[in-house]
């Protein structure tokens, strides 16, 4: 009977023909659902709210989405190797404070402040990576500890006060646009494109994915997985620093509270964007779509006059939904895979 069940479903497969299998292979992609959802949401908002399609609103949405892309990349680059970075927001905060301290307190030019801030974020990432590979502890516990270390530094240095005297030149990147498209958004798209290329065509990108897919097997296939883990945490620091600096550039001031909400945003965008939680999978398109989707939802909540204090609750629910949808998708595509091999 089992035999006949298999035969039956195989026959169904064949009857469905080319379109069916093409659809199935699209459906099996981890980023398809989020792209579709984002498009639907976009169309929905365009029709339901007249102020949505205004250049001003689109500018804002794309700029916020771009910032989320960098925040999400900071998380995705470690999730992809099978780890996580809980200290992401704190690194961002520390970057912001260092940038503020340089440009405001010390009065230095952005040409000094920005490299120093970037260096700070990078060193924080390297610190995480170094401790993880040397101590053999998992990234959860190490970055949980460094979250407190970095947060303490943020509060200690800034005493909680914002740095508002940021040179006007530095806000160009975060506030200006090219033909109505914010520079930040173009920057995000460029970085995503580069990453998509790296993960598909460069040896280092492939090695990062392999390490995330199965660290032991990757190491036993000649990949220096310690280096890969160190690299991914360093890049996580670089992305956090980038996001932090863009935040300063956009706000025109350096707020020590920057990054406190990044934990949920970074996981939400990365996971909804098709970054497999147990590593080994990355989608640039998915991250872009989910960053836009999340911004649209936040935007929509404001338009619906939802109390902003409940925002995090919504984000949490959305992450739960996304993860559930993901597990259903994986289960379904496993089932089709199974039927295929049985038949062969």
């Amino acid at each position: 009977m089992a035999q006949s069940k298999v035969e039956h479903s195989v026959r169904q497969d064949r009857e469905a023909g080319g379109i069916g299998s093409a659809l199935r292979s699209v459906f099996r992609r981890s980023d398809t659902s989020v792209v579709i959802a984002t498009v639907i949401l976009f169309v929905l908002f365009s029709f339901s709210n007249t102020s949505f399609l205004t250049p001003f609103n689109l500018f804002n949405v794309s700029r916020t989405a771009a910032l989320y892309v960098f925040v999400a990349l900071g998380q995705a680059i470690v999730i992809v190797t099978g780890g996580m970075n809980l200290s992401l927001g704190a690194i961002g905060g520390l970057t912001v404070v260092v940038a503020g301290w340089c440009m405001d307190t010390m009065g230095w030019s952005p040409w000094i402040g920005v490299p120093l801030a970037m260096l700070t974020g990078t060193l924080c990432g390297m610190f995480n990576g170094f401790i993880i590979i040397k101590s053999k502890l998992n990234s959860f516990i190490v970055t949980l500890a460094s979250l407190f270390i970095f947060t303490g530094l943020v509060q200690g240095i800034s005493q909680g006060f914002p740095y508002s005297n940021i040179p006007r030149d530095f806000t160009i990147l975060g506030r200006n646009d090219f033909l109505g498209v914010p520079y930040v958004f173009l920057f995000a798209v460029a970085v995503l494109t580069a990453l998509a290329y790296v993960f598909k065509f460069r040896v280092v990108g492939r090695r990062i994915l392999a390490t995330g897919g199965n660290l032991e097997a990757a190491r036993l296939s000649g990949i220096r997985t310690d280096n890969i883990v160190f690299l991914s945490h360093t890049l996580s620091g670089v992305f956090a620093a980038t996001a932090g600096l863009l935040w300063v550039s956009r706000m025109g001031s350096a707020q020590p509270s920057t990054g406190t909400d990044w934990l949920i945003i970074s996981f939400a965008v990365a996971i909804i964007g098709g970054t497999a939680l147990n590593g080994g999978e990355f989608s640039a398109l998915g991250i872009l779509a989910s960053a836009i989707m999340l911004t649209l939802i936040k935007n929509g909540l404001i338009m619906l006059n939802v109390n902003v204090y409940f925002e995090q609750t919504f984000l949490g629910v959305i992450v739960l939904l996304a993860v559930s949808v993901e597990s259903i998708r994986v289960a379904l595509s496993n089932r089709t895979k199974r039927t295929k091999t049985d038949a062969s």
Binding site: M1, A2, K200, F201, R202, V203, R206, R207, L209, A210, G213, N214, E216, A217, A218, R219, L220, S221, G222, I223, R224, A276, G280, E281, K337, R338, K340, T341, D342, S344
Partner: protein
């Protein structure tokens, strides 16, 4: 009476049980034997409710039963003593024995420890566990823990007791006690299902034996009048000695790899050996005898305290698999392909090309996708890997095909030296012979130097032409079975006896 009727169970890429029917009578010790991957565990798990069959039925005393969880089986007094020791280390012996029925010892909502300890002591005595029941389990030996698990099953008044390799951790004396206990249980009308690799025990205690091979029931026979050779014959379906690959021409003058006085604290002391070019050198011994551990040192996965490894007569510095592969072209096929050999969630392409991405780059440093696919295709063709294409996910392949992929990656890398660890675990017979032939061809036709690690005696004798016998982290013997120039290869019986002598 427990009856299994026409039970079939499939997993992705493999039919684990195929139309199996067998009966287990009360007061009978019924042995289930078969090679790795024959379907023994699947059968047991179906009887214990861990798996539900795809097709067929299970009858208990004539009534059809459907078990969804192990709890369902327990409710019907079917108990499992599994191969893995399942114990709570920080609890006492008594707690571990009575674990699943603490609720029967409640008086006024409190647990009556005195009664528990008394009852536990009784079951401990039954299995000859000479340890105070209040002792914490953590410090006990593996054998003692095994006995606790058996006592736990007994304390539930099991009517059907399923034992999966219960003697693997036991000493000879403990084993004899256990077998005596099984005979007592039998007299009380308990049905005992006894899964074991040790055919001597099967012959000593069982009334009947059922042999599984490749998911099929080969037959159920009364033990009386059956010999070990006959059971083996049923298990492997052919004479163990038939695969005759002949003599291997070894380039005797050239040494591919030489290990000199390898030492590792607490394990190896002054271990040396030589691997000739084009040779298949066998590492034979039990799991944990030092074979895999020595290989780990060779590939840089484990540190040695002193000694040196020479490749092509030059000293080496190997601190990782990356060094081993990229500096010395030495590959390692892991014994644990699912956890250490393959990225199951990735495609065949990725798993094969992972060692050669560097070589597939164009002038600008991008990996050429077409070249990657071609490389994978070629190896899939050469190794007869059955799949829908190079993009198929490796996790959905059968065991044999997965193993071929995990070997293919080292062929792609064009390694000169290959260490192949237990290549045929969980692989069906057809693929097994294919892999043996493949290893043979790599040495005989392509001149690769191969270390074959295996605990499968026929495998090591058929494929390797010089065998190092490992015991307690020492090389206790060297067996040459290539024969003299012009003379035939030495016979299986003769070689296996010589290996046996070294192990004794």
């Amino acid at each position: 009476m427990l009856q299994i009727r026409h039970v079939t169970k499939s997993f992705p890429g493999v039919r684990a049980l195929d139309d199996v029917s067998v009966e287990f009578a009360p007061g009978e010790v019924h042995a289930i034997v078969g090679e790795n991957g024959a379907g023994k565990s699947t059968l047991i798990k179906i009887i214990c409710g861990v798996y539900t069959p795809d097709d067929g039925e299970v009858l208990l005393n004539g009534a059809r039963i459907t078990l969804h969880t192990y709890k369902d089986a327990l409710d019907r007094k079917i108990n499992l003593v599994s191969q893995e020791i399942q114990i709570i280390p920080k609890s006492t012996v008594a707690e571990n024995i009575m674990l699943d029925k603490l609720d029967r010892y409640l008086t006024h909502g409190r647990i009556d420890w005195k009664r528990i300890n008394q009852d536990a002591a009784r079951y401990a005595t039954m299995v000859d566990l000479a340890v105070p029941v209040r002792q914490i389990v953590a410090t006990l030996s593996a054998a003692q823990k095994q006995l606790i698990m058996i006592a736990r099953a007994l304390s539930s008044d099991a009517r059907i007791l399923v034992m999966d390799e219960p003697t693997s951790a036991l000493t000879r004396h403990e084993t004899e006690n256990l077998l005596a206990l099984l005979r007592r249980l039998k007299a009380e009308g308990v049905t005992v299902l006894f899964v074991s690799h040790k055919l001597e025990e099967v012959l000593a205690v069982a009334d009947k034996v059922s042999v599984l091979r490749d998911g099929c029931l080969i037959g159920t026979r009364p033990i009386a009048g059956l010999t070990k050779a006959q059971i083996v014959q049923m298990m492997i379906g052919r004479d163990a000695r038939t695969l005759d690959l002949g003599r291997l021409k070894v380039d005797a003058g050239h040494v591919a790899l030489e290990a000199r006085s390898i030492c590792q604290a607490g394990r190896f002391h002054d271990v040396s050996f030589v691997l000739q070019r084009g040779e298949i050198l066998g590492f034979y011994g039990l799991v944990g005898s030092g074979r895999t551990e020595l290989a780990q040192i060779l590939i840089g996965e484990a540190r040695k305290d002193s000694g040196e490894v020479l490749i092509n007569d030059k000293p080496t510095h190997i601190h990782s698999m990356a060094d081993s592969l990229f500096k010395y072209r030495m590959g390692y096929v892991s014994e644990n392909r699912k956890e250490k050999g393959l990225i199951l969630s990735a495609s065949i392409k990725t798993n094969v090309a992972i060692t050669i991405w560097n070589r597939l780059r164009d002038r600008l440093g991008s990996i050429q996708l077409a070249a990657e696919t071609t490389a994978a295709r070629k190896l899939m063709h050469a190794l007869e890997i059955r799949a829908t294409g190079p993009s198929q996910v490796v996790g959905s392949l059968s065991g044999g095909n997965q193993q071929k992929v995990s070997i293919a990656k080292w062929l792609a890398a064009q390694c000169d030296i290959l260490i192949i660890d237990e290549p045929t675990i969980g692989v069906d017979i057809g693929a097994k012979e294919y892999i043996h032939q493949l290893i043979w061809n790599l040495a005989s036709r392509e001149g690769k130097s191969i270390i074959l690690i295996s605990s499968d005696m026929p495998e090591i004798i058929n494929v390797a032409r010089r065998i190092l016998v490992f015991k307690d982290f020492k090389i206790v013997g060297e067996v040459r079975n290539n024969g003299e120039e012009g003379a035939p290869v030495r016979g299986y019986e003769e070689v296996s006896q010589e290996i046996g002598q070294y192990l004794a």
